[in-house]
Symmetry: C2
Subunit: 685 residues, 2 copies
């Protein structure tokens, strides 16, 4: 419900604005003034006629019509004020800075609901309460500093925590990160991170919209909305980087006590963000570094030229990149030789391209030109250039800026000398550039970006399952575990291969059943409890004759009233599981069976539905993937069938959300098939 009045108000009133700039009401007014807000600015303050040079209304009824109200008065006065503004002043956007609402107690929660109703009733926008405000190139509607440099092509930043928003900006601003908008959503009474992302998706304009989104999230309230719009934005060419804090049990407890919301299981969060194509970060520094990378042209390949005037940082960066999946490829050939000619003796162009402590701006230009035009095995350049403090390096950074404008390949500036050439770096940042002061922090972030999967497709093609049959079984089932018959019928309806089995009590029936299931077979008596002890189990039955003779023998065994036949299968034990995770829907897991789950915890998870390609990525992401491919002459598991079974389990969850958990453990996989030999499904309607 973001509207024009929130984005680009023609008039703003600060309710509770004062001269005390150490208070939110005074400080937000100061920020609005300092930011040269172009529209009409008013204050409502019962004691003042002018505040910080701005006209103040003692009686709210006298206030002119106003688009946006920024509210910094005690919680208990908010509802009536908003009602008056909405009804009489045509105010359609509200930012409530005040605390004392749902985050504090039940009374506050009631107040908050009341306010949302009023705002909704006039189709208005509400940000907060309990937030630091909103910031964009039209107005500085926050009561905090720093105010970052605002630029329509900067990052859009949505934060579930006000203080953290401030601290993230304090990490980004000194490095040159610019912002297009900042939303501190506070209690998310009407709009949370999800709604704002939805708005950004639905209003996306490839020409004018910012392409980089930063999120700080403590609680994912609407996972489906987040997934839908984040992945949509990324498919449209955006990049999204997020912190979702509370990944540990203790952290989750802390986040819950902080937001009052129930914790989301982190494995589901991780699966969601992965599926959306969001780069997940753990901390502010990492978040800002990834965002800074996103502000550069897209990295289109894995080959990085490390250009440096100092050996050490180049080696550390090369380690970081190549230990995590990127390449610092060897550069050689006539064009490399020609470049080397232009550098001082002792330089190296083999990559890292080291043009020595004495290297000049001119030489850096030659190197960048060669990487841009001559070296096909270079997709991007990381330029490391600091200073031991002997002389200024303006010429180098000016050259770098120019080359960054000209080149199509991304150039990442790593300028470590934040003390020695502080002024030169500031001069460089003032041109809109961003600095990566630490090469390893940069390298780790770049590999993280490179290793993040693409978002899910807009439409996920699901395997065909017999929906009608599934619904019939589920609708007829009670809560609890399904019976073997229900289980088998459900698996058959979902198209999940299972070990064939059957029971018969006449010789002809058992012979027919054997033919249907196929050899080899296992035969077991039905009736006796300790089947092996009474000679009631026969393995590896290979022909009808044996089926018949064993049947006759078994039927003589005490208590036996029938004989069970089952496919005798060989293969590697794998497993597929599914579990309902509250608002996240169903999480589907896969891996190898036995110790691989129990000891090595080698499991990959995603959220249903799952496309075939994604199922393959899950399997290929397993640490034990080598075993599935076949190792040391051991037979491989049919990966395609395994992936198919994963997509079928996921599809089953979409048709039968009443399934609380499902375990196929193990399935036996060989080169021909992946077949479930044991299964459990629990229903919770």
């Amino acid at each position: 419900m973001i509207n024009e009045q929130l984005l680009n108000p023609k008039s703003i009133v600060v309710i509770g604005g004062s001269d005390d700039v150490q208070k939110p009401g005074g400080k937000v007014l100061k920020n609005l003034i300092d930011g040269n807000f172009k529209g009409n600015l008013y204050v409502a303050n019962p004691k003042m006629e002018e505040v910080q040079g701005v006209p103040s209304y003692k009686d709210l009824k006298k206030l002119p019509q106003t688009d946006l109200a920024i509210i910094a008065i005690a919680a208990k006065f908010c509802a009536s004020t908003i009602k008056l503004l909405a009804e009489e002043k045509n105010t359609r956007a509200f930012i409530i800075l005040s605390a004392g609402f749902s985050e504090e107690n039940e009374e506050g929660e009631k107040l908050e609901k009341e306010i949302v109703e009023i705002v909704n009733s006039v189709g208005g926008s509400l940000i907060g309460p309990n937030c630091v405000g909103v910031l964009n190139s039209n107005y500085n509607g926050v009561f905090t500093t720093p105010i970052p440099s605002l630029d329509p092509k900067g990052c859009d930043f949505i934060s579930g925590s006000g203080a953290t928003a401030v601290f993230i900006m304090e990490s980004g601003v000194p490095k040159g990160l610019s912002f297009s908008s900042v939303y501190s959503v506070g209690n998310s009474a009407q709009m949370g991170v999800e709604e704002i992302l939805k708005y950004m998706d639905e209003s996306f304009d490839p020409e004018t919209s910012s392409k980089v989104k930063l999120l700080y999230i403590e609680n994912i309230d609407k996972p489906e909305m987040l997934l839908k719009h984040a992945s949509s934005l990324i498919r449209k060419g955006c990049k999204i980087v997020a912190i979702k804090s509370g990944s540990s049990e203790a952290g989750s407890r802390a986040a819950s006590s902080h937001t009052g919301a129930l914790a989301s299981p982190d494995v589901a969060v991780d699966a969601l963000l992965k599926k959306a194509g969001i780069v997940r970060c753990k901390g502010r520094d990492e978040l800002v570094t990834v965002a800074s990378i996103f502000m550069h042209p897209e990295l289109k390949g894995k080959n990085i030229a490390v250009i440096t005037h100092a050996g050490g940082p180049a080696v550390m960066l090369t380690d970081s990149l190549s230990n995590n999946g990127l390449d610092v490829p060897h550069i050689e050939g006539p064009k490399a030789d020609a470049l080397l000619e232009k550098l001082y003796g002792g330089s190296s162009v083999a990559n890292p391209i080291d043009f020595l402590a004495t290297g000049t701006a001119q030489q850096l230009g030659d190197i960048i030109d060669a990487c841009e035009n001559d070296f096909d095995n270079v997709d991007a350049m990381a330029v490391i250039f600091g200073s031991p403090g002997l002389f200024p390096v303006y010429d180098v950074y000016d050259l770098l800026h120019e080359k960054m404008k000209q080149c199509k390949k991304p150039i990442y500036p790593i300028l470590p000398s934040i003390v020695n050439v502080k002024d030169e770096i500031e001069h460089f940042l003032a041109k809109g550039r961003i600095n990566f002061p630490d090469e390893v922090v940069f390298g780790d972030a770049l590999t993280k970006v490179y290793n993040t999967s693409k978002p899910q497709a807009e439409k996920i093609e699901m395997p065909e399952v017999d929906k009608e049959a599934i619904r019939k079984i589920i609708d007829g089932a009670e809560n609890g575990y399904l019976s073997p018959e229900q289980l088998h019928a459900l698996m058959d309806a979902a198209g999940i291969d299972r070990a064939k089995e059957g029971v018969a009590d006449t010789e002809d029936e058992i012979a027919a059943l054997a033919k249907e299931i196929g050899f080899p077979l296992v035969m077991k008596v039905v009736g006796p409890v300790h089947k092996s002890d009474v000679g009631g189990v026969t393995l590896n039955v290979k022909d009808e004759e044996t089926v018949r003779s064993e049947f006759r023998r078994m039927m003589q065994i005490k208590d036996t009233y029938a004989v069970m036949l089952a496919q005798m299968l060989k293969g590697t034990e794998v497993f597929i599981g599914a579990k309902r995770e509250d608002k996240f829907g169903h999480m589907v897991l896969c891996g190898l069976g036995g110790i691989f789950i129990e000891v090595l915890k080698d499991v990959k998870a995603s959220l249903a539905p799952i496309a075939k390609q994604e199922a393959h990525e899950m399997i290929q992401g397993l640490k034990s993937y080598g075993i599935i491919k076949g190792v040391r002459g051991q037979e491989a598991v049919n990966e395609d069938k395994f992936a198919d079974a994963i997509t079928r389990v996921a599809a089953l969850m979409k048709v039968a959300p009443e399934i609380f958990e499902m375990d196929l453990n193990p399935l036996l996989g060989n080169k021909d098939a992946v077949v479930a030999v044991d299964a459990r499904i629990r229903i919770e309607k």
Copy 2:
């Protein structure tokens, strides 16, 4: 060969000092002057009588007696200058800033050797060439900036790269890290990182010496020296943190081309640093963060109180700590209730202790006092306190400083608002404090410190092996693989259990052999190539009678001239390997066999010799350790026997360094024994 003249010179001459402070000779002089060097300062410059106000000698022969010469003239003039200084001016310490030596070409290498000989001949100290110099509280002998704050209790920093030393200081200085000494060793002609560490160890004084050492290493030339003195320093109470760059193949290539030295295998480097008890870092930011942690009182337990006035960073820090082995324990009870009473409504003391955005210095003091005195389950405090920019926070940071002086438990200040309260943070740092601006960078570093093993013991107790027998076998062996007889004899001499086996060609002999080896047994014909095909293999022979009858049967088989008996073993496949790694000595590896090596690369390595405790740590560090402990009713592997075998392999390597590689793969481990069933040893003398 560090001497008093290098550490605390009474007089310094800058050879090649000039007025041009953009050149090393001019800049180092300026730094010496700016640092108020207390002794006599001279310049040698053939064209000047005074340089920057310092007397300059056109003729070196006229120079007074001088302790230390800092040399910034062309490489070719260095040797003769040093000779004159050493012979005529009683100069006993030399820092050569100039480049153009071994790093450039063979001629330079010769010059370098010549200089080392001259310096050694008078028992002098030599730092460099090709370095940025030396810095301590007596003099600023570097040509670079920044000059960090110097304090005998600050860090000692030794760097294998000059530019990297500068960039590391630029990362540390703004956070408040102070230094006791900085050595840039350049080409390490006489002294490298190892020698300086050795000096620090041998001259260590628990009262006056700095306890924190930072190392930046591109090449470990003397691993044994490094291990010996680093672990010795740590046992004396020091903390050492190091970057060894070149961990990746590409990085290692880059480092080699940079230093001209052969790359060290990274797994050996890692094993070495681990054995020494050194915390290994990947980048400058991490290095500086760990060093900053080391500048605080020692963390004595795993329980951290996270104290904050903002929720978000506390949650992220809690995630970082508790996802990596530290605890943020729940705090409750009457004393917690009493503390809560002192805070504003809405605060939480459950840990994170959140005293809200409105929290005061007084409240922070109460919280810290409670953590220090009342909460036994708190070992350290992390205090997060930033500012949204409304009012100054001097009072809070002053209080924090006071509490840090009083408390025994470490208090780590996390002050994220490096923009908003820049002045307050600088004021805090000016008192000698250090800031951790990013809570997750801090958290990750703290867990890394906590998870670093103690250094090896001073004396490693090795298992008893029959040295005489081992030497006899090795001395008698040719290069290449040992014969089965040699192999068995060697394993027996080293006390490594192996599957017992033997060959006999008479029935009585075989019966006696069977008794000796013990049942059950495997019997195999000796002679025929395809033993199974001719019925020449019998498994699980359980008594003498069967041994005799099978022997008689087997001897009838064509080409059979004898029968082999071997222990029939059951157990989990594990492996132990050893490999000579040039200067690092022998690396010993262990793990589970089969797919665990091939697919999961689940291997732990250390360097010989290995103490029993360390072998246990290796085993316990395996991802598959759960399998060794026994899982799902599967029998455990006798960990003590496994560890014993590892120490025996390591001991064997110390007695027989001619062994190039050794593989025990597999050993079969069960609850009683760990026995090698296949082995290979390759000798390379």
